[in-house]
C-alpha cells in the first residue's frame, strides 16, 4: 500500500472521502451544465474542471462555519464546500428566481450567499481581492479569529487590485489567504504572455508575506499549505500567498473555442493529471474508496444532479418587473 499522506495532515479517512465527494460533485454539476448548454437549455457555462482539487483542498483546510470565502467564477468546489448545494447551482445555471446567488440576475459562476459567508462577486476580475482584505480587517477590528480566502486566476493576478489588496493586507498583517489558481491560461493567453516571474508566489515577498507554490491537482498538498496559512492568519501573523498549479481542462467558457490557440495534445496530457482521476486512485490505494463506495457515491451524486436539474429547469424566472427591485435599500 502507498504511503498514507492524509493522516499526518490530521485528516481522517472519512474526511478525505468527503473531500473527494465534493470534488466529484463539482465535476458532475459542471459536466451537466455543459450538456445543458450544448442542448440549448442554458446560455452559458464557465468551468471548474481541472481546479477541483485546489478548491476543495483549500476550503477543507478552513473553518467553514466561520471563515469567509471570496471565490471567483471557477470556484464551484469552494462554494460547494462552503455549503452551497447542487440545486442552488443549477438554479443559477438556469437563471431562476430562487437562485440564492443573485435571483437569476447574474451569470452562473457569480457566486454569493451570505448565510454561508460566500461573498457576492462580479465579473470584472480581481475586485474581490480588496474585499477579502476589508473583511479580514473588520474581523481584526472586532477581534474575531476568522480568516478570509480569496481566489483568482493567474492572469488576474496582474490587475492592480491584486497588488493594492495584497500590500494592504501585508502592511496591516491581516488574515487573508490569497490563492492564485494557476491554470496556465487566461482565456487564450498562455502564462508566458501574462507573467515574467517563474512562479506567481514570487510576488509574495514584495508584500512581506510568505508565498507557496503547490500542485493544484493534489488536494492534500493544497490542504497542507492553506491550513498553515490559516493558522498563521489566526495567530495574527498576517497573510499568505498560495499558488496552485493545474490546468484548465475545458475551453475558457461555453463561448470559447480553445482549438484556436492550444493543441489538443496539450489538453490530453493535462488530463492525465486530472485530480478526479489521481485522487480517486490515491483513495483506492488507501482502501478508502472501495468499489462499493464509489458506486454508491456516483449514484448519489448523479441523483442529486438530476434532481437539481429537474428542479431548476422547472422553477420560475423572476418576474420582469422585479428587475426594478433592490437598487437601494427598500
Amino acid at each position: 500500500m502507498a504511503e498514507n499522506r492524509h493522516k499526518s495532515l490530521g485528516l481522517s479517512d472519512d474526511e478525505v472521502l468527503d473531500m473527494f465527494r465534493t470534488m466529484l460533485l463539482a465535476r458532475k454539476i459542471d459536466e451537466r451544465m455543459w450538456l445543458l448548454n450544448r442542448a440549448g437549455k442554458i446560455p452559458f457555462v464557465i468551468s471548474c474542471q481541472g481546479q477541483e482539487a485546489a478548491q476543495v483542498g483549500a476550503s477543507y483546510a478552513l473553518d467553514r462555519d466561520k471563515d469567509y470565502a471570496l471565490p471567483y467564477y471557477r470556484d464551484m468546489g469552494v462554494v460547494l464546500s462552503f455549503g452551497m448545494t447542487a440545486k442552488d447551482l443549477m438554479l443559477s445555471g438556469f437563471a431562476k428566481a430562487e437562485d440564492p446567488n443573485s435571483g437569476g440576475r447574474q451569470m452562473p459562476g457569480h457566486f454569493g450567499q451570505k448565510k454561508n459567508r460566500i461573498v457576492t462577486g462580479s465579473s470584472p476580475v480581481t475586485t474581490q481581492v480588496p474585499h477579502a482584505v476589508g473583511i479580514a480587517l473588520a474581523g481584526k477590528m472586532e477581534k474575531k479569529d476568522f480568516v478570509s480566502l480569496v481566489t483568482f486566476g493567474e492572469g488576474s493576478s496582474n490587475q492592480g487590485d491584486f497588488h493594492e489588496g495584497a500590500n494592504f493586507a501585508g502592511v496591516h498583517k491581516l488574515p487573508v489567504i490569497f490563492m492564485v489558481e494557476n491554470n496556465k491560461y487566461a482565456i487564450s493567453v498562455p502564462v508566458s504572455k501574462q507573467l515574467a516571474c517563474e512562479k506567481v508566489s514570487d510576488r509574495a515577498i514584495g508584500y512581506g508575506m510568505p508565498g507557496e507554490t503547490v500542485d493544484g491537482n493534489d488536494p492534500l498538498a493544497v490542504y497542507e499549505v492553506v491550513k498553515a496559512a490559516a493558522d498563521r492568519g489566526r495567530k495574527g501573523e498576517g497573510p499568505t500567498l498560495v499558488e496552485t498549479v493545474s490546468y484548465r481542462l475545458t475551453p475558457h467558457s461555453s463561448d470559447d473555442d480553445d482549438r484556436t490557440y492550444r493543441e489538443k495534445e496539450e489538453v490530453e496530457e493535462a488530463k492525465k493529471k486530472d485530480s478526479i482521476v489521481t485522487f480517486a486512485n490515491y483513495l483506492r490505494e488507501q482502501n478508502i474508496l472501495t468499489e462499493e463506495k464509489e458506486e454508491a457515491m456516483n449514484k448519489e451524486i448523479d441523483d442529486l444532479v438530476n434532481e437539481a436539474t429537474d428542479y431548476a429547469e422547472n422553477a420560475a424566472y423572476a418576474e420582469a418587473e422585479s428587475a426594478m427591485k433592490y437598487v437601494y435599500e427598500e
Binding site: S122, G134, E330
Partner: protein
C-alpha cells in the same frame, strides 16, 4: 446655536458618528496622525486610536475596495479620497462593485460605505486639485452622491450618509472648508439624502445649483434684490439620484430657470436637471432653461489669469441671473 466652519462640520459629524457607533471607522491617506491634509479628521486619531483612524497605503482602489469589504461584513467605513481628482483609480471599485452589490446579490449583501472627497476649484490647485468629478458617477444606479453647501447640511447629511445602508459619495467643496461658516445645532440630527432644499424663496427667477455655487447665487440674489429681482434658489444637495419633485416645483414656480455648476458644461449634473425640467415643465417655462457652467476644457489651470477664467464666481452668476430676469 454655535457657528462653525464647513470643515468643522465634517469633523464633528465623523467624531459623533464614531462615538455613537463603534462600527464606524475612517480610512485614507494621511487621515491618522496628520489628521488629513485638510485636517478634516483632526483629533480623531488621538480620540479613537490608529485602529479606527487608519492611515492606508497610497492606493485608492484599495481604500475603496477594502472599505467595501469591511462594509459588506457589517462595518461602517468612511473612506477619504485625498482629493476628488484622485478618486479615478477607484472608479472600478465604486461603479462595478459598491453600486451593484445589493442589486447583483438580489438584496443578500449590501455595501454601506461612505466615500468622502474634497472637490472644486478656486484654490490654486491647478488641473488635478480643482476638479468636480460628480458627473463621472452620476449615472450609476445604486450610488448616491451628496454635495452639501453649508455646515448645517454637511453635518446632517454626512451623518445620514454614514447611517445609510447604501454607498454614498460625499463631495466636500475644498474652498468652502474654511470660507463658509454657519449655525449648527448641538444636538444630534440627520438630513434626508435625496431631498433638495430651498435656500431662498423668490418669485422672479429660479436658480438651481449645489455646492459652493449656492453661496455665489445667494450673494448675487441679495444684490439683485436691490434691483427688485427676486430669486428663488434651490440647493440640490443630493446630485444623484436627483430630487425630481423638488426640481419641478422650483422650476415651475417662476418659469425662468438658471442652472449653475462650476463643473464643465457638457454632460454635467445640470444637464440632467435641464432634461427633467424640459420633460415636466415645458408649458410653465417663460424662457429657455439656461446653464451657467465652467468652460469645456479639461480642468482649471494654475495661473491665476486662467484659473479665474474657468472658476465660477458671484459676478458671473449675478450677470446670468440678471440676463434671465430681463429675458
Amino acid at each position: 446655536m454655535p457657528v462653525i466652519s464647513y470643515i468643522q462640520a465634517v469633523t464633528q459629524a465623523l467624531k459623533e458618528e464614531m462615538q455613537r457607533d463603534e462600527k464606524v471607522f475612517v480610512l485614507g491617506e494621511d487621515v491618522g496622525k496628520r489628521g488629513g491634509v485638510f485636517r478634516a479628521t483632526d483629533g480623531l486619531y488621538d480620540e479613537f486610536g490608529e485602529d479606527r483612524v487608519l492611515d492606508t497605503p497610497l492606493a485608492e482602489s484599495a481604500i475603496a475596495g477594502v472599505g467595501i469589504g469591511a462594509a459588506m461584513y457589517g462595518m461602517r467605513p468612511v473612506a477619504e479620497m485625498q482629493f476628488a481628482d484622485f478618486i479615478m483609480p477607484a472608479v472600478n471599485q465604486i461603479i462595478s462593485e459598491a453600486a451593484k452589490i445589493r442589486y447583483r446579490s438580489n438584496n443578500d449583501w449590501q455595501a454601506p460605505i461612505t466615500i468622502r472627497a474634497p472637490y472644486g476649484g478656486g484654490v490654486h490647485g491647478a488641473l488635478y486639485h480643482s476638479q468636480s468629478v460628480e458627473a463621472v458617477f452620476a449615472n450609476q444606479p445604486g450610488l448616491k452622491i451628496v454635495m452639501p453647501s453649508t455646515p448645517y447640511d454637511v453635518k446632517g447629511l454626512l451623518k445620514a450618509s454614514i447611517r445609510d445602508n447604501d454607498p454614498v459619495l460625499f463631495f466636500e467643496h475644498k474652498r468652502a472648508y474654511r470660507l463658509i461658516k454657519g449655525e449648527v445645532p448641538e444636538e444630534d440630527y440627520t438630513l434626508p439624502i435625496g431631498k433638495a432644499d430651498v435656500k431662498r424663496e423668490g418669485s422672479d427667477i429660479t436658480v438651481i445649483t449645489y455646492g459652493l455655487c449656492v453661496h455665489f447665487a445667494l450673494q448675487a440674489a441679495e444684490k439683485l434684490a436691490e434691483e427688485g429681482i427676486d430669486a428663488h434658489i434651490l440647493d440640490l444637495r443630493t446630485v444623484y439620484p436627483l430630487d425630481k419633485e423638488g426640481i419641478i416645483e422650483a422650476a415651475s414656480k417662476t418659469g425662468k430657470v438658471l442652472l449653475v455648476t462650476e463643473d464643465n458644461k457638457e454632460g454635467g449634473i445640470i444637464s440632467e436637471v435641464s432634461a427633467i425640467i424640459s420633460e415636466n415643465c415645458l408649458f410653465d417655462l417663460d424662457a429657455p432653461v439656461q446653464r451657467l457652467a465652467g468652460p469645456d476644457v479639461p480642468s482649471m489651470p494654475y495661473a491665476p489669469t486662467m484659473e479665474k477664467h474657468f472658476m465660477m464666481n458671484p459676478d458671473k452668476v449675478e450677470k446670468a441671473m440678471r440676463d434671465l430676469a430681463e429675458f
